[in-house]
Symmetry: C2
């Protein structure tokens, strides 16, 4: 019997690339494209033809003359189209959270980085239903002149991918070099390979799986319960009043625990008290970990819309890649023509390595080309945003067509290729 | 690489012992004892002398003439003094949740059971701050004539144990044969061995640890945040109005996820939809696991008080056995004179086997007599209420002074004895 060996994970203080760094894409303004209108509505999975849809997206690097060097990056629950570089209008346009840091995957996208903008044309768009520029519940419904609120449709990962396909077509790209994403972004990458087999050369699925587990469904359900039962929610039509901050904050605090791991929480905070040592015998914040959750909750309600949160978590619930095979995952996966790179993180308990292995094995059984890598990390689900050094090694090797057999063997297990 | 092997756990439909069963303790009425008054207040760990305190408790079996066959059972967060047998007044006295089932550990307590009432005098009392008969936030403050509400003190596991010691003294019991409990009850058993080393022959600590992890602190913090920010909470003084049901329901739903395991949720509910197949594209309950959480939340708010929930989770947060050694666990444990049985469950991720192993090893280093058993179970933290067949085998062997070496070797790992 051994004592539980807590691996101590350093909290990595990231040194952001400043905009003038040779490895930064610099200042980037997003673009807007109307990709659905009355003549050409997007028929959603729920059956509702929906328009107008404006999509916010950013691009980094240059599309080559053959238009075959494009990589689509898909964002996760609370992400946006601003994946790399710096937002020149962050303060002026009321996005203060973007002022002091670059895009959410800046460490992966730029000259010489994993998604090397000297070689690739990188595109990232904001999903339908979000609150970061693409049409969502807080957008104005032209038929009423008011925000959609409760009348916004419930959308799916499939809907997102079909809208992304319109963007790719709009950019006159026939086939994507790769689609890549972590978490819900990883599920979009998988969905691309199934929905548009001819248009995806490779799919890079990180910290995701073919479907969310029952435990994941349960956590999402509690968060949504807190939101819809916040008295300020008023059925979703709260835009003329106070938003349901408490409910959204509960949802975020809870979700945030699932993004970290037991060991990273232990290493970062343990049972330390904020002030001095020992209890103050009250219910206000006194452990450091409580204070951290307060901070996460407060930051989030300043930047995110509760209806978008409902919308996106429901899409997360509904996604099941096996729907393409009427519940049979292997039948579903047999549609794919892409080469796959699947990456999981050892301490991710939201989308576990075991789930990813299952997907890898199912792909292998369908004789798809698949590389599966489990990266040892104590960072939990958030590792896809943190372990970018190791991710860079893995993704670069994959995009360069190398097998990961070249990588240090104790670090990686793999099948296929 | 292996596919994730989900062990399928059957949901055990327990056949409750009816009151006339030879293995049931039958109908049991609880007793009430005033254990602190103005002359003899309980000085709480927070420094406040507190009185009056009435304690509700039940007893099963008979105290022998040597008064040395008593076993104290300690309950967990939402438990009560009604550990075994049937409540004859459940319906008449407004406790309908007790009408159709016996006490919470009836499968462990009774003639011939693990805590054999033919041999032992079993005592279980309700903790200070609860809402099941012992003085708590919903009790009337004699100085105001109103419920305590926000003026109720923040109590600790140490306070509970010192009150239990008063009960044991009140019952004229000098030394307990054993103190036993699961979860927070297990922490009380551990605390007994440290606070009253001379008065505990053996401590049986089940599904617990020396302290709650940072992740556990985080989950408790989210639950409390939901309660104290429910508009009906009104600072804790809500007894003349509507209680903070939404906040309490959020807290319970969330906590309930931590009581189960990923694999038990997968086996019980998976991704099954309640009605027919496939999504209805809305935010109301449609997955079976959502419906289960609804049920858990609704049941709980009918029977539990939000202030008690705050109180008891805070006690859970604060407990750290190493406080007896100024932060040094081994120094703390060196006080103990009891023989220890520690039991963990393989899929418990709230109080993990690794944490229990650490406690076991620390006890062994202090040369205490300790048996550590990890029971393989897919039931998660709730296993202490479910795996009572295996628990019976382990606890009986321990109480009979057998080493667990007699038990089937693949099932148990152990140190000591």
């Amino acid at each position: 019997m051994a004592i539980a060996a807590y691996r101590v994970s350093r909290v990595r203080r990231r040194d952001y690339d400043p905009p003038d760094s040779p490895t930064s894409v610099g200042y980037v303004r997003s673009s807007l494209a109307r990709l659905a209108d009355q003549e050409n509505p997007l028929v959603l999975q729920c059956g509702r033809p929906f328009w107008p849809i404006d999509v916010t997206y950013e691009t980094y690097g240059k599309l080559n003359s053959d238009r075959d060097n494009a990589i689509l990056v898909c964002h996760a629950l609370s992400g946006d189209a601003h994946a790399a570089g710096w937002d020149p209008d962050a303060l002026e346009q009321g996005r203060p959270w973007r002022a002091d840091r670059p895009g959410w995957w800046d460490s992966m996208i730029g000259p010489g980085k994993a998604l090397d903008t000297n070689k690739y044309f990188v595109v990232c768009s904001n999903v339908l239903g979000s609150c970061y520029g693409t049409t969502g519940p807080s957008s104005t419904d032209p038929s009423s002149g008011k925000p959609y609120g409760s009348s916004f449709p419930v959308v799916t990962v499939g809907d997102w991918v079909r809208l992304e396909e319109r963007l790719v077509t709009h950019l006159k790209i026939d086939k994507l070099k790769a689609v890549i994403g972590g978490s819900l972004g990883g599920q979009q990458a998988l969905e691309w390979a199934l929905a548009y087999p001819e248009r995806v050369e490779s799919a890079i699925v990180i910290g995701a799986s073919a479907r969310l587990s029952a435990q994941g469904l349960a956590f999402n359900a509690v968060g949504r319960y807190a939101i819809v039962n916040d008295p300020n929610f008023r059925g979703g039509d709260y835009y003329d009043g106070v938003p349901p901050r408490v409910g959204l904050s509960v949802a975020r605090r809870l979700a945030h625990i699932t993004y970290l791991s037991e060991e990273s929480l232990e290493a970062k905070f343990g049972r330390r008290y904020r002030h001095g040592c020992g209890p103050s015998y009250g219910f206000s914040t006194e452990f450091e970990v409580e204070s951290y959750l307060d901070h996460q909750g407060e930051k989030f309600v300043e930047r995110f819309d509760a209806n978008s949160y409902l919308c996106i978590t429901r899409a997360m619930d509904y996604y099941d890649a096996s729907d393409w095979g009427d519940g049979d995952l292997e039948r579903a996966l047999s549609r794919a023509k892409a080469t796959f790179l699947l990456v999981s993180f050892s301490s991710d308990w939201l989308y576990t390595p075991a789930q990813m292995e299952q997907l890898a094995l199912s792909l292998a059984k369908c004789e798809k080309r698949v590389t599966y890598v489990e990266i040892p990390s104590s960072a939990g689900h958030d590792a896809f945003l943190i372990e970018t050094e190791t991710l860079t090694e893995v993704v670069k090797a994959f995009l360069d067509g190398q097998t990961t057999k070249r990588l240090s063997p104790p670090l990686y297990s793999q099948i296929g290729l």
